[in-house]
C-alpha cells in the first residue's frame, strides 16, 4: 500500500516542480526590460503614451523631457542637433537609440538621467562649428566627464519625418563621429609618441636632432609639412613645430614598444562607457622602418576616434593617469534604483614627470609652434595640431589641447573633416571653445 514515505516523496516532488515554476516566473520578471522593447509586444507602443523621465545637463537644465497635452505625449529635445546621436531618439516607428535606449528602463519608470554635459557650452560649439563636417569633444581631464560632444552633421531627434533622408544621406547624420568615427590621427599622435620615448629613456627634452626637412628609410622618404627644414632642434621644438623627421626616428627606435604604449593610452580597443565606441586600429607589428616612421607621424593605417584622442591627451593633462570618459553622473529614483557614477581611473600610463614634460612641449606648440592660432593672451594653453592625410580627400584638421596647462580643467578635441591644416582650420575653433568652457566652469 502507499506508505507515508511515498506521500512525503510526492510532496517533495511537487515542491521541486513548483520551485521550477517560480524559477521560470522570476526569469521572465528578470528579462522584463528586454521583453518590453520587443517589436511583437503591443506594450511597446504603450511606452509612448505615458510620462517619461527627463535627461538633464550638469547644471540640471532640462535637455530632454516629455510634455503632455490631454492624452498626447510628446518627447521634446532642447539641445542642438549635433548632440542628437548621443542623446538618441525615442520614436514608436523608428525605435529607441542612444542614451534614450541605454537608460530606457529607468526613463520608463520616470527616473531622471543627469548627464555631465553642459547645455550652454554645447549650443555655443554648435553655432561655432557651423556648416563644417566633423566632431568636437570637450572633457574635464581630471575626472573624465564629457562636458560637450558634437557630431556634424546632426539631425533633429524631435522631428523624424525625414528619417529616410537622414538614413540615406551621404554624410550620415545618424553616425556618432565622436564615439565611432575613425580617422587617421596625423600629428596629434606625437605627444603620445613623445611620452613613450621619454618614459623609455630613448630621448630627453634637451636631446637634439638635425632636421633637414626629410628623412629616408630604405629609399622611401618622409617629409616635413611643406618640406620645411627646421635645423638643429630639441625635442620640445620638434613637438612644437611638428617635425615629422624627428618623430619618424623616435617611432623607429620605439618599434613594438611604441605600439604597446599607444595601446596603454587606450588606442586600438573599444572604450567602455555608456554608449558603444569604435576600437579604431593599431597597425600590426611587422612594419618596415618606413612603416614605423609612418606610425610616428600618425599615418600608416592608424585609426583613432576623437574620444580616444581626448582620453589619451587627457593622460598628459592628468599627471599620467588615464580616466574613463563618462556621460552620466547620476540617476535618481527610489533608494534601490539610484545610481551615482564617480570618476574612474583606468590605469597609470606614464609618470607625472613625463606628463609635465610633454605638457611643456605642448605649451610651446601654442606659444610659438604650429598651434599659434589657439593662443590666448594670459592663458597657458597646451595643444597639438594635426593634419591627417587620408584616402578620401583633403587632409583632416585635428586639434587636441587643454588649459590651463599647469592645472588643466578643460580638454578639447576638434576634428574638421577634410578641413586642411590643423593649425588653420581646427586651432582657432578650439581657442574659442576653450575660453567658453573655462568661463562655463566658473559659473556654478
Amino acid at each position: 500500500m502507499i506508505r507515508h514515505s511515498a506521500l512525503r516523496k510526492v510532496l517533495i516532488l511537487h515542491l521541486i516542480l513548483f520551485g521550477a515554476l517560480l524559477g521560470a516566473m522570476t526569469y521572465w520578471y528578470w528579462r522584463s526590460d528586454l521583453l518590453a522593447i520587443h517589436p511583437a509586444n503591443p506594450r511597446f507602443y504603450q511606452v509612448f503614451r505615458q510620462p517619461r523621465g527627463q535627461i538633464l545637463d550638469r547644471h540640471n537644465r532640462v535637455l530632454v523631457e516629455t510634455t503632455q497635452e490631454g492624452e498626447q505625449f510628446t518627447r521634446v529635445y532642447n539641445h542642438p542637433s549635433s548632440l542628437s546621436q548621443t542623446i538618441g531618439y525615442f520614436h514608436p516607428r523608428y525605435g529607441v537609440t542612444g542614451l534614450e535606449k541605454v537608460y530606457h528602463s529607468q526613463l520608463t519608470r520616470q527616473q531622471n538621467v543627469y548627464t555631465t554635459l553642459d547645455g550652454e557650452l554645447q549650443k555655443f560649439i554648435d553655432e561655432l562649428f557651423g556648416d563644417h563636417t566633423g566632431a568636437v569633444v570637450v572633457t574635464d581631464p581630471r575626472t573624465g566627464q564629457i562636458l560637450a560632444t558634437g557630431s556634424w552633421p546632426g539631425y533633429p531627434n524631435g522631428d523624424l519625418n525625414d528619417w529616410e533622408l537622414y538614413y540615406h544621406h551621404p554624410q550620415a547624420p545618424f553616425f556618432n563621429r565622436v564615439l565611432q568615427g575613425t580617422y587617421p590621427p596625423g600629428s596629434v599622435i606625437k605627444p603620445l609618441i613623445m611620452a613613450a620615448a621619454l618614459e623609455e629613456g630613448i630621448a630627453e627634452l634637451e636631446s637634439t636632432w638635425r632636421d633637414t626637412g626629410s628623412i629616408s628609410f630604405s629609399g622611401r622618404t618622409i617629409h616635413n609639412s611643406g618640406q620645411r627644414s627646421l635645423g638643429m632642434i630639441s625635442l620640445t621644438e620638434a613637438l612644437a613645430h611638428s617635425s615629422n623627421v624627428v618623430f619618424a626616428q623616435l617611432a623607429n627606435e620605439l618599434r613594438g614598444g611604441g605600439l604597446d604604449y599607444l595601446g596603454e593610452f587606450g588606442l586600438g580597443t573599444t572604450m567602455e562607457m555608456e554608449l558603444s565606441t569604435a576600437a579604431g586600429r593599431l597597425p600590426s607589428e611587422a612594419l618596415s622602418s618606413y612603416g614605423w616612421g609612418q606610425v610616428g607621424i600618425g599615418q600608416s593605417d592608424l585609426l583613432v576616434t576623437p574620444l580616444q584622442i581626448a582620453a589619451a591627451i587627457g593622460v598628459i593633462a592628468n599627471n599620467g593617469v588615464l580616466m574613463r570618459p563618462y556621460l552620466v553622473r547620476q540617476i535618481d529614483g527610489l533608494i534601490w534604483q539610484r545610481q551615482r557614477n564617480r570618476p574612474e581611473i583606468i590605469r597609470r600610463v606614464i609618470s607625472q614627470a613625463t606628463a609635465e614634460q610633454v605638457t611643456r612641449a605642448m605649451v610651446a606648440a601654442v606659444t610659438m609652434g604650429t598651434a599659434r592660432r589657439a593662443a590666448v593672451n594670459g592663458l597657458d594653453i597646451a595643444g597639438k595640431t594635426g593634419t591627417a592625410e587620408n584616402p578620401q580627400g583633403s587632409d583632416h584638421a585635428w586639434f587636441a589641447g587643454f588649459a590651463p596647462a599647469e592645472h588643466p580643467k578643460v580638454l578639447v578635441v576638434v576634428v574638421v573633416e577634410h578641413g586642411g591644416a590643423g593649425g588653420v582650420a581646427a586651432a582657432p575653433l578650439a581657442r574659442e571653445i576653450i575660453l567658453k568652457a573655462l568661463a562655463a566652469q566658473e559659473e556654478r
Binding site: I2, L21, A24
Partner: protein, 406 residues
C-alpha cells in the same frame, strides 16, 4: 449515518457557509477599494486578508482550509473574469451555483462504499465514446458536447471516473503489483488496458492531448506510489517517449506546439503568438503588478481560460503569481495530509485528487511560462469554465468528506 451525526454535519456546514460569506464580502470590498488604488496595495492587502483568515480559523480551532483556499481562488477568479468581460463573470456565477451543489452532494457521499471498478471504468469510457461520436470541435480538439443550449466538456467529468477507476484498480491489485504474485495476466491488466488504453485512444482521436498527458502522469504517480520499482519507472518513461514520438508523427498541432516551445520568437506572429503575448503580459507586471484593470492582458488569446495566470502576473505582479503558486501548494499539502489519514483505497483516491491538481497546475503554468510546451489545459478553480469548476468542486467535496471521517 445516525441522525445526531447528520445534524452535526449540517451545523458544521452552516458555519462553513458563514465563513465563506464573510470571506466573499471581504474580497468584494477589497476589489472595490483597491481597483483604483496604487498597484502595490493589491497583492499586499490580499496577503494580509489571507493572514487574517488563517489566524481567525486557527483561533477557532477549525481548519477546513481546503475549502477556504478554493474560495479564495474561485472568488479571485470571478473578479478577474469580471475585469476581462462582465458576461464571463455572469456565466461563471451560474457555474458557481452549480458547482456549489456538486460540492455539497460530494461532501455527503460515503466514499468508502465499495463500488466495483468496472462500474467506473465503463461509465468513464462511455463518456469518452459519446464525446467522440457526438462531440463538437472547438480549438482543434473535439472536446465539447452540446445538450440543448448548454455546452460542456465531458472530459472534465471523466476525470472523476478516471480517478475512481484507477484508485479501485490499484487497490484491488496492489498485492499482485507488489509481489508479482498470483492472478492471471488478464485478470489484473485486462481492465486497465481496456479502460486506460481505450481512454488514451479516444482522447487522441478527439485530439485532446493535454488531458491525455495529465491522466498518464497521474496514473504513473499513483502506481509508483503504490509499488515502486525502477523497471516500472523505466517502462513509463518508455511509454511516454513512445507516445511522444507517435504524437509527433501523427499530430500536426503537436509538432507546432513543440516547435513553438523550442523557439517562440520565430513564430511570434503565428503559432507562437499566444505564448509570447502571455509572456510579454506576465513580464510587464513587474514585482507588484500594474494593478487590477491597469494591464492590457486582453490582447492575450484565451486569457480567461488557459492563460489566467498571465493576467494575475501582469496585474498582481510576480508577488501575486507567487502567492497563487503558494495557494495551490497549500491545497495539495492539505490533500496529502488527508491522504495520510486515510487507509487503503481511500488513501489512493485522495492522493490521486491531490496529484491531479498538482500535475495540472504544473502542466498549465509550466506551459505558459515556457518550461514545457503549452498543453491547452486550464488551472483548477482559476479559469472560466463551468464543467471544470463543477468537477473540481466535486473532487474538493470528496476530500472534505474524507477529512471529516477520522
Amino acid at each position: 449515518m445516525k441522525n445526531g451525526l447528520r445534524r452535526d454535519f449540517v451545523l458544521r456546514d452552516l458555519r462553513l457557509w458563514f465563513d465563506l460569506a464573510v470571506w466573499w464580502a471581504l474580497l468584494f470590498f477589497w476589489f472595490k477599494l483597491t481597483i483604483t488604488a496604487p498597484p502595490w496595495w493589491q497583492p499586499t492587502t490580499l496577503f494580509i486578508l489571507l493572514l487574517i483568515l488563517a489566524v481567525w480559523n486557527w483561533w477557532r480551532g477549525v481548519s477546513p482550509y481546503g475549502l477556504l483556499i478554493v474560495a479564495f481562488l474561485a472568488s479571485l477568479n470571478w473578479f478577474l473574469l469580471y475585469r476581462i468581460n462582465p458576461t464571463y463573470a455572469d456565466a461563471q456565477w451560474r457555474g458557481w451555483l452549480l458547482s456549489g451543489i456538486a460540492f455539497l452532494v460530494s461532501l455527503h457521499i460515503d466514499w468508502s462504499k465499495a463500488v466495483h471498478k468496472h462500474f467506473f471504468g465503463s461509465v468513464g469510457l462511455a463518456i469518452l465514446i459519446i464525446t467522440g461520436i457526438f462531440g463538437k470541435e472547438i480549438g482543434g480538439a473535439r472536446a465539447w458536447l452540446a445538450v440543448g443550449p448548454i455546452q460542456f466538456q465531458p472530459v472534465e467529468f471523466y476525470r472523476v471516473f478516471f480517478l475512481l477507476f484507477v484508485s479501485r484498480f490499484l487497490f484491488d491489485s496492489h498485492r499482485q503489483l507488489a509481489h508479482r504474485g498470483s492472478g492471471s495476466f488478464w485478470d489484473i491488466w485486462g481492465p486497465l488496458l481496456i479502460v486506460l488504453g481505450g481512454a488514451f485512444f479516444l482522447l487522441a482521436f478527439q485530439r485532446d492531448l493535454g488531458p491525455a498527458l495529465l491522466f498518464f502522469l497521474v496514473f504513473m504517480t499513483l502506481m509508483l506510489a503504490v509499488s515502486f520499482s525502477w523497471v516500472r519507472l523505466a517502462g513509463f518513461v518508455g511509454l511516454a517517449a513512445g507516445g511522444g514520438l507517435t504524437g509527433w508523427f501523427v499530430f500536426a498541432h503537436f509538432r507546432q506546439r513543440l516547435a513553438v516551445w523550442l523557439n517562440p520568437w520565430q513564430y511570434a506572429d503565428t503559432y507562437g503568438y499566444q505564448l509570447l503575448q502571455g509572456i510579454f503580459a506576465f513580464a510587464a507586471g513587474g514585482f507588484i503588478g500594474r494593478g487590477i484593470s491597469q494591464g492590457t492582458a486582453e490582447t492575450v488569446p484565451q486569457v480567461h481560460t488557459d492563460l489566467t495566470i498571465v493576467l494575475i502576473g501582469e496585474e498582481l505582479g510576480l508577488l501575486g503569481a507567487a502567492m497563487i503558486l503558494a495557494m495551490y501548494l497549500c491545497l495539495i499539502f492539505w490533500g496529502l495530509k488527508i491522504a495520510g489519514r486515510q487507509e487503503g483505497y481511500l488513501r489512493i483516491l485522495s492522493l490521486g485528487i491531490s496529484v491531479m491538481w498538482g500535475t495540472q497546475v504544473f502542466l498549465v503554468i509550466g506551459g505558459v511560462m515556457r518550461v514545457i510546451p503549452l498543453t491547452g489545459m486550464t488551472l483548477p478553480f482559476l479559469s472560466y469554465g463551468t464543467s471544470s469548476l463543477i468537477t473540481n468542486m466535486w473532487l474538493l467535496g470528496t476530500l472534505s468528506s474524507l477529512e471529516r471521517e477520522r
